[in-house]
Subunit: 218 residues, 2 copies
């Protein structure tokens, strides 16, 4: 079977769940249901890896230390690119080399995505111009300030306007499930939700505007 490459960017002070949540969802998705199918990659529709500027270990927020799979030069071309958030995004906003890499990488992908304040970096790179997008609730105003042509959605947990952005931290898992559903269908996404026991339910009792906002449509 053909597999889509999912590259997840790592950088110093990336928020742990911002990258680990989508890593979990994409890497545990299987086209065949159940526990046994998860023991091999046979029916895995995604090949998931982390990428960073160099191959040196990255210290994430809270001190978790992760070794990237690839540096920028060695990384396979991604089909789906995930830009997580975290306090470390603030340095990326002024990092011309990173922004140039991001523009190049984004130009070649099938789908560009972000979690939390990862959308600030996309905005700075000009990749959200004229689109609806979201971010962590603490950064709504900053997203708007970076690029006033962005229509900032302050209510939705996941916004898909060509580029898929999500609200804060744990909403990255909903973003990932949205992408799984887009490429593999709702049954596969729901079954993967059941495997990792993530309450992926329409609405799911999540109040509008609160910490658990429901995903918007495509």
């Amino acid at each position: 079977m053909s597999r889509r490459n999912v590259a997840i960017l790592l950088f110093p002070e990336v928020e742990v769940l911002d990258f680990a949540g989508p890593f979990e969802v994409f890497s545990r998705t299987r086209l065949d249901p159940g526990v046994e199918s998860r023991r091999s990659e046979e029916t895995a529709p995604f090949r998931v890896y982390t990428v960073a500027r160099t191959g040196e270990p990255i210290t994430a927020t809270g001190g978790l230390r992760v070794i990237p799979h690839f540096d920028f030069d060695e990384a396979p071309s991604p089909d789906i690119l995930v830009i997580p958030g975290g306090f470390g995004t603030r340095a990326l906003l002024e990092d011309d080399g990173m922004l140039a890499w991001l523009r190049r990488a984004a130009g070649g992908v099938e789908l560009l995505t972000s979690v939390c304040t990862g959308s600030l970096v996309l905005a700075r790179a000009g990749l959200l111009a004229g689109r609806r997008a979201t971010t962590h609730w603490g950064a709504h105003d900053l997203l708007e300030a970076i690029d006033p042509s962005i229509s900032v959605d302050r209510e939705s947990r996941v916004v898909d306007d060509g580029v898929v952005t999500s609200a804060g931290v744990s909403a990255g898992m909903d973003m990932a499930f949205h992408v799984v559903e887009r490429f593999c269908g709702k049954d596969v996404a729901d079954e993967t939700g059941r495997y990792i026991e993530y309450p992926r339910l329409p609405g799911a009792g999540l109040p509008a505007g609160g910490p658990g906002r429901a995903p918007t449509g495509r």
Copy 2:
């Protein structure tokens, strides 16, 4: 302020979200609300670190590579010990050295916890004897088989019967929030949930017995 040490065990083929979810929750908890308090450790009630048999990098499920903070000999004494799950737990069930370490470590902690199939390892070490406990839905029968004196709760997302166990994978975050609430109160747990935008709501529209089961009481 005094801080509780939270040690999270790593081992080959540990499930990513099983350790990264609790790492995120415990490490981002602050006694002061808001975004700014998360920029320092000043009001952090927990000191969170990973521990493994050696300091060598661990390859988790899906291939994520993590460098443990401490090996068994160097690790500070934990107040709270978190045993995650994953396919790698099966090898631990036959690993006398690991089981001996776990019994020793568990003897010194204030609170012993597990995520997903981490409870299988606790059971094998004799640490769940006579207690109510849970695990991933795919391992309910195995938990019961390992120690028939355990009362396996097949409905709850989090079970606190002295030792705190949780259902599969993402339920580890609910386990962590339960522990945060137990030590720091509901306001601190809820505010941390809001910070990471995790829908931590009583019931939260989660159906009984489904992938999103509501936590039970203490």
